[in-house]
Subunit: 82 residues, 2 copies
């Protein structure tokens, strides 16, 4: 994960690699399900062979403990794919 500042907003960002589009979209759905369950939603960029995930907290305009927890959870989900 890298901490990126976009429009003055700190975000945790990571790009994951996959063998094709369908597998990337599968990962997107699993991250989406975890987000929905947690009531905390990232930005997810799905492309052929890669998914970029960004976590941040709108309410505080930056990073909250929850974002780090969800970043770790996203890594955990990726373990199913490697």
């Amino acid at each position: 994960w890298v901490m990126m500042e976009r429009d003055g907003l700190k975000r945790l960002e990571r790009v994951y690699k996959f063998k094709d589009f369908v597998t990337a979209l599968d990962f997107t759905n699993k991250v989406g399900a975890a987000a929905e369950e947690a009531g905390h939603h990232p930005a997810i960029l799905t492309e052929w062979g890669s998914v970029g995930v960004a976590w941040w907290t709108h309410k505080i305009n930056g990073l909250h403990r929850n974002d780090f927890i969800m970043a770790a959870k996203t890594d955990e989900i990726y373990q199913e794919f490697v």
Copy 2:
């Protein structure tokens, strides 16, 4: 749709609005299924309440007739959501 140039690459881009995250992700999946069927894949940015879609053709480093066809197809899919 707007034609955006990113890293010297022309792309067709559009942002669609949704009522929540789950509906946005549902649209992402439908666009993904159409992409897979066509063998032509966009970048899809899924967030709470919005999905950004970008079409371009890697092979020619720009826009091909297919990109315009897929952009129209994406609009067609969105009709189910409005």
